[in-house]
């Protein structure tokens, strides 16, 4: 339908300027996704440095200071460079097509929000070459330790500001698009779940990112302009940074994970050939998770010595999050129940994502129990927990989404056999890396140490082997994506037998401009 109307729009500039000046949501989506893959390679390499050093006790390849730089940058890069841009990329590609809009609401700003990212990422990496190297203080940047750091810390602060501006602009754009550009008749409660979760995520970003910006700005003035926000000797409070940081940090977890919930909610019904179970409760669960995420932050800091009443408050609110999260998991399982299931690669990623994310969710419930957390806190149990949440939740959803929508983007089917190889290698690598880390943490291994006591050796070796398998598997992913872009079996417009939604009504590959005239919604 749209093809004939938009055929003369197909021509677009070629070469570098196409990408530099583009205001097309599909081009920008592509840029975001490639940027995120590049950052994944950098951040993943740092993870391999960490895992290689932890292969055995003693110091083998890096010095403790450099090890700490790796843990800090790995965290920052994976959160701000991999997961967030990847989801914004998916939003750019999909949201206009899913709501029947011709493009994003603010296309020029869209260009700018992407092009802030490469310099911001570069600055983050350049901190490695500053005198004293990158900060050695973890991605959480706690003072007073960050006050001691060299110039690399200032690079990171500036970079975080730029990444934050990019995210805020991106979320303004997404909110404006969703609220204003839906096809006539597509009411809010008819929107696909991916659009819903992104709408909620965008509001979370708007609320949380400025708080982070404030926190790092206070660090900057403490470092250079003699303020004492976080310096007890000057009347400040080092714990205040943690409160402010986690007021951003916990919503950030849902910023990383809600769009993943949206992806699962698109993929699972498609391959179950059955509508999503409990659409309305999904929407309300998403909103209650978002709301609760602003009143649980201090569960990251039970050990700082809060009053008992405070600890109880944060324990109860945190436990409450299990309710709406549980609703989501039950709904996904109920969607599969008595469906007509098939297991193409996207579906495998969605099922594994739900399954493994739930492990992370349940270990999160364990961590919410304040007294028990005194044993878990700052150990490898926490490292295992958040990788089960962020890798299994967000990253598996991102990969699944790429397989799911890639035929629409490129017009070609990916190689299903290779896709399944990629899936199983990722599963083996991921679980081998992170499952043993639960045991390491329970047995008493602190996180963020370059060297460890002898009783932790074996599980660390499992973990290191797993990490290398996991990393190599992602090179296969790169190969599959390039192969699919270059050619392959032609994809139909619908692509998947059970696919529902506006994006499947346009041809594959989706024309450069879609929905120049809005589609009719029954």
């Amino acid at each position: 339908m749209a093809t004939a109307a938009t055929a003369h729009h197909e021509e677009h500039p070629y070469g570098i300027t196409r990408w530099l000046y583009t205001t097309n949501h599909k081009d920008i989506g592509t840029l975001y996704l490639w940027f995120s893959f590049a950052m994944a390679i950098v951040g993943g390499t740092m993870a391999l440095v960490i895992r290689a050093e932890l292969w055995q006790p003693g110091l083998q390849i890096v010095e403790p200071g450099f090890f700490n730089q790796m843990t800090a940058l790995h965290g920052l890069i994976m959160v701000f460079g991999l997961v967030m841009p990847a989801f914004v990329g998916l939003a750019n590609w999909q949201i206009p097509m899913m709501i029947g809009a011709p493009d994003m609401a603010l296309p020029r700003m869209n260009n700018w929000s992407f092009w802030i990212l490469p310099p911001a990422g570069t600055l983050l990496l350049l901190s490695l070459f500053a005198p004293g190297g990158a900060p050695q203080a973890g991605w959480t940047l706690y003072p007073p330790l960050t006050i001691q750091m060299g110039m690399g810390m200032d690079f990171v602060i500036l970079s975080v500001h730029m990444l934050g501006i990019s995210s805020v602009l991106g979320s303004i754009n997404i909110i404006a698009t969703i609220l204003n550009m839906r096809a006539p008749g597509l009411t809010l409660m008819k929107m696909p779940l991916f659009v819903w979760t992104w709408l909620v995520t965008a509001f979370l970003l708007l609320a949380a990112i400025p708080v982070l910006a404030g926190a790092v700005t206070m660090l900057l003035t403490d470092r250079h302009f003699g303020t004492h926000f976080f310096n007890a000797a000057g009347g400040g409070d080092p714990v205040m940074f943690q409160h402010v940081f986690w007021f951003f940090g916990h919503p950030e977890v849902y910023i990383l994970v809600l769009p993943a919930f949206g992806v699962f909610s698109q993929i699972i019904p498609t391959f179950s050939r059955k509508p999503l179970f409990g659409y309305e409760s999904m929407v309300y669960a998403t909103m209650s998770i978002a709301f609760l995420s602003f009143v649980v932050w201090a569960h990251h800091m039970y050990t700082v010595g809060m009053p008992t009443a405070g600890e109880l408050f944060f324990m109860y609110t945190t436990m409450m999050i299990a309710v709406p999260t549980g609703v989501k998991v039950f709904n996904w399982v109920a969607t599969m129940w008595r469906g007509s299931l098939s297991f193409e690669t996207p579906m495998l990623y969605a099922i594994a994502g739900v399954f493994l994310f739930t492990i992370g969710g349940l270990s999160g419930l364990m961590l919410s129990i304040t007294p028990a957390d005194f044993q878990y806190h700052d150990t490898y149990f926490v490292v295992a927990h958040f990788h089960y949440v962020i890798f299994a939740g967000s990253v598996l959803a991102i990969i699944g989404a790429v397989y799911y929508w890639m035929p629409k983007w490129t017009g070609h089917m990916y190689n299903e056999t290779l896709g399944k190889w990629h899936f199983w290698l990722t599963m083996i690598g991921f679980n081998l890396t992170f499952f043993p880390q639960h045991f390491l943490g329970l047995a008493g291994m602190p996180r963020r140490i370059p060297d460890y006591a002898l009783q932790f050796t074996e599980f660390n070796q499992w973990s290191t082997v797993g990490a290398f398998i996991l990393a190599l598997a992602q090179l296969l992913f790169l190969y599959i994506v390039i192969q699919t872009i270059r050619g392959g079996e032609k994809a139909s417009g619908r692509v998947w037998e059970g696919a529902e939604g506006l994006e499947w009504t346009v041809p594959s590959p989706a024309p450069y401009h879609t929905f120049a005239t809005p589609p009719k919604i029954r």
Binding site: A137, P238, T303, V327, F355, Q375, T417
Partner: protein, 379 residues
């Protein structure tokens, strides 16, 4: 479709088996810790029990939910000709699975709350120890007994750099453990000197942040004599992984004897500061202090870490006036990692380490600093 699935599943099983074969020898040879270390206080017992309770609840929920999912994955396949149903909501079911988890949570919250209240009750203690985290060592002060000392990593650098065989308690060994009596309620006041650390001994069930400018209170009553090891748990910079904690729990009589010995040592140290020391004595003792206290930053060769920790070899301070050198060692340099050592080292130690630094690493100034000089500067 189904053929691909079976084929890839087979391949995956083969890979798992292959990886498993590789790992079996390590599994057989190793002692694995899967769970908390054996608790030795009432609180640590409670925590282990609580941990098991919530863990088992989580496992039951997990197995229940995914049992249903895996049944569906097996039974409701398109390849088996299963036709999709069309239902997409059930208010009754949705209400049920919102409310049941809520009651499970209440069931978990109750024992958690009572345990927390018990942990936070620091009243009626028999003994108070102040714990201060420093980069990268712990300081223990027995406030009622007027005894205080620093406790640093005792694992030799050679073991860390793989030049010597590692001891069984590699990285978990200190020069002077924290000695505590069993059966007494010990209250700890935890604070930090420079950055945030966290004092953690798993077997005591204690972990608390050591924050500059704040004092946190925790307590323990240790059930049985023994040696209990832990580590700093909050990232505190370069040597975060190298500031272990060793608690030695002894009977009350042994504890009293130990306190008596510590007081005698203090008197002996004061006497040693009164006499004049030979250059050789000072340099020998100074080297010992340097390797314990200074080496983490300034390195064994005195060259420091460029851009991070300044060198002592050929430095203006270590080859310039003696008073300037003593001043920086005793009072530190604000805004940098250089701490004030006046409170950490006694007169003999300070005199010795400064003498050593002025004659080692090619600094050959020939200067000798006597404990009496340090003592004079303290006033």
């Amino acid at each position: 479709m189904a053929k691909w699935f079976i084929r890839t599943t087979r391949a995956a099983v083969a890979i798992v088996a292959a990886v498993g074969m590789l790992l079996i020898p390590t599994i057989a040879a190793a002692e694995y810790g899967f769970d908390f270390q054996r608790p030795v206080t009432e609180i640590a017992h409670d925590l282990l029990w609580l941990h098991h309770l919530i863990f088992i609840i989580c496992v039951i929920i997990f197995v229940g939910v995914f049992g249903v999912m895996f049944y569906s994955l097996a039974a409701h396949r398109k390849s088996r000709g299963h036709k999709a149903a069309t239902f997409h909501e059930s208010t009754r079911l949705e209400v049920v699975w919102t409310i049941i988890p809520f009651f499970i949570l209440v069931g978990m919250a109750y024992p958690s709350t009572t345990t927390l209240l018990k942990m936070d009750d620091v009243t009626n203690s028999d003994l108070t120890v102040k714990i201060t985290g420093h980069q990268w060592k712990w300081q223990y002060e027995y406030l009622d007994q007027d005894v205080s000392f620093f406790s640093v990593l005792a694992t030799p650098q050679a073991q860390i750099h793989n030049e010597a065989k590692k001891d069984p308690h590699y990285l978990l060994e200190v020069d002077k453990p924290l000695v505590l009596p069993v059966g007494k309620k010990v209250r700890f006041l935890v604070t930090g000197a420079d950055v945030i650390h966290a004092w953690w001994v798993p077997q005591l069930g204690l972990k608390k942040d050591a924050i500059p400018g704040f004092i946190n209170e925790i307590w323990a009553r240790i059930d049985e004599p023994g040696t209990y090891r832990g580590q700093c748990a909050e990232l505190c910079g370069k040597d975060h992984g190298y500031m272990p904690i060793v608690v030695q729990a002894v009977s009350d009589e042994e504890f009293k004897t130990w306190i008596g010995e510590q007081k005698k040592l203090k008197v002996a140290a004061a006497a040693a500061a009164e006499r004049s020391w030979s250059k050789e004595e000072l340099i020998e003792h100074g080297k010992e202090i340097y390797n314990k206290t200074c080496v983490a930053c300034h390195q064994a060769n005195g060259k420091g870490v460029p851009g991070v920790f300044p060198a002592i070899a050929g430095s203006k301070i270590a080859t310039g006036p003696v008073d300037g050198h003593l001043n920086i060692v005793m009072n530190g340099k604000p805004g940098t990692a250089m701490q004030a050592f006046a409170g950490q080292l006694n007169d003999v130690d300070l005199a010795a380490v400064v003498s050593y630094e002025r004659n080692a690493f090619g600094n050959n100034t020939g200067d000798v600093v006597q404990p009496s000089q340090v003592k004079a500067l303290r006033k």
